[in-house]
């Protein structure tokens, strides 16, 4: 579905060079729930930004099936890959009502006819457990988790094939999280979507992802089937990471690598 070939990206801040991505290659298969985990600052969001065409890479290529993706891509290619960003509070436009935020992609990509927009917005909000009452509110009157859910609804609006979710449920309590994740998995199965799921919550990864990529300092540290990476981690960094997972039962601590 998506193939990333030899991607590198650096940033320069006042004579300091940050090698955010260092020759990364990976393949994401259709209908994967592909998790990316790893060190904070290891390049996860940068990789998402390059796949989306928000940043240009220094080297390498990104392919979506047989289309080479660059940062100026057609509206149709844009529609196919959607993004739920890491900080929903700073990414929702404070001057727009929730209705305007979610209806925009519906209009741009002509998803439904004009008279059906309001119904669709309401439906998308219900997917993420928010009532229609939220349509007329502005972002700064919403809690952290409510904003996060609006961001998910906005990404689903354009009916993408690939959804990149960057910490999509970190602001949700575990009950709402379970609802939203179950719902995302249902939508995924129903429409045969592919998910790239970036998170620090390794317990969630264990429960939803089929494959997992561990990043460290701009490089791939370990990659494999979720079950295998968790039960037989190879690299020291991955082992350290799994050992550090905060758990709620003693049984969970027992299955961590020694």
């Amino acid at each position: 579905m998506i193939e990333v070939k030899n991607i590198s990206k650096k940033f320069i801040i006042k004579s300091n060079i940050v090698q955010a991505l260092d020759n990364i290659s990976l393949k994401i298969e259709e209908s994967d729930c592909f998790a990316i985990v790893g060190e904070s600052g290891s390049g996860k969001t940068t990789l998402a930004n390059i796949i989306l065409g928000i940043y240009n890479q220094d080297n390498g290529e990104v392919w979506l099936e047989d289309s080479l993706l660059s940062s100026n891509r057609s509206l149709n290619l844009r529609k196919l890959i959607q993004f739920v960003q890491q900080n929903p509070m700073s990414t929702l436009n404070p001057k727009k009502t929730i209705y305007n935020t979610i209806s925009l992609p519906l209009k741009i990509h002509k998803i439904v006819s004009n008279d059906k927009i309001s119904d669709r917005v309401e439906k998308l909000l219900s997917y993420v457990g928010l009532d229609a009452e939220f349509m007329h509110r502005y972002p700064d009157t919403l809690s952290g988790g409510q904003k996060q859910r609006v961001a998910i609804a906005r990404a689903l609006a354009s009916e993408p094939k690939v959804l990149i979710l960057d910490e999509p449920t970190s602001a949700l309590d575990v009950i709402v999280q379970s609802k939203v994740l179950n719902l995302l998995l249902n939508i995924k199965n129903k429409f045969n979507l592919t998910y790239i799921f970036i998170t620090h919550d390794l317990s969630v990864v264990k429960n939803i992802a089929n494959r997992v990529l561990v990043m460290n300092k701009g490089k791939i540290d370990e990659f494999g089937k979720t079950m295998e990476v968790f039960s037989r981690p190879k690299s020291d960094y991955t082992k350290t990471l799994i050992r550090a997972i905060p758990t709620v039962t003693d049984e969970e601590d027992e299955i961590k690598p020694k």
Partner: protein
């Protein structure tokens, strides 16, 4: 001198909205002693962040009605003037806001934002402030603090920005630290370090920490006392062991049952129609 630092009494909050009055906090009671580590957990949208905003005097819009008391060091601060709040915010109480990127000023470099915070403590040169900030950032595993200090917020990863905000909130050693989802953008090893640093602060300077998080594993690791909030009502309070081992309120039980576990391969199923938890009496462990 009493050991009590913060006592919230029958705190109520409502917003006047287009659709009518929206009651967000319904007689909240909560207590923190000096040096204590307390967690406030619960539903998304239940009123955790607005509680911290009230403690800091940040909710003053025309459509806000607040009642009750917030007693900090034996003084009710709920209706203090902005001038008095400003003094408290810089020195006695600090906060780690839920969204680190939004908490930082987008048009100033991190070093300048640190300078402002450091000046609250004592007069110093920019160079001295840079040095102090850089030492403090190293403690949260930032390998290249100079680069981070020379950056604008948008140039930082989520976790770097969060560590900047954590460091800023701790640098002046406040009496009370409000930590609203301080570790969601951190990988689990750095998360543990951040929790350790907050713990150290409670030991060294007797700082009390009110930790808000959805990560129950973090609560289990960090907190001594736990309050559970649902739709503006505290539904359960107890020590960490009481709440984790013997949850008394049906909402707390549902919450603990919904945690994704490392021992499972599938998300926990949830109840489609849950009862109105807010109507069920509060459970207090003795």
């Amino acid at each position: 001198m009493s050991n009590k630092l913060l006592k919230i009494e029958d705190l109520e909050l409502s917003f006047k909205m287009y659709e009518g009055l929206s009651y967000v906090l319904k007689k909240i009671n909560l207590e923190l002693h000096k040096g204590e580590k307390v967690a406030l957990v619960g539903e998304s949208g239940s009123g955790k962040s607005v509680t911290t905003k009230l403690i800091l005097g940040l909710l003053n819009q025309k459509n806000v009605t607040k009642k009750g008391k917030i007693i900090f060091n034996d003084k009710n601060i709920l209706n203090l003037s902005q001038k008095e709040f400003k003094k408290i915010r810089g020195n006695n109480i600090s906060i780690i806001f839920q969204d680190p990127i939004a908490a930082l000023n987008p048009v100033f470099k991190i070093k300048d934002q640190f300078y402002e915070v450091n000046l609250n403590n004592k007069p110093m040169s920019k160079k001295e402030s840079f040095f102090i900030a850089s030492k403090a950032l190293e403690k949260v595993s930032i390998r290249d603090p100079e680069r981070v200090l020379e950056s604008y917020p948008f140039q930082l990863s989520g976790g770097l920005a969060q560590r900047v905000v954590i460091t800023m909130a701790m640098i002046n050693k406040p009496e009370l630290l409000l930590a609203d989802e301080p570790s969601t953008a951190l990988d689990v090893t750095i998360q543990n370090q951040a929790l350790d640093l907050m713990h150290d602060l409670t030991q060294e300077t007797n700082t009390a920490v009110l930790l808000i998080t959805h990560n129950m594993g973090v609560v289990r690791k960090f907190a001594e006392k736990v309050y559970v909030i649902f739709r503006g009502v505290i539904v359960e309070e107890g020590t960490k062991d009481q709440v984790f081992k013997n949850p008394g309120h049906p909402y707390t039980k549902a919450l603990l049952n919904s945690i994704p576990k490392l021992t499972n391969n599938q998300l926990p199923k949830f109840d489609e129609d849950s009862p109105d938890y807010a109507a069920i009496a509060k459970y207090t462990h003795r």
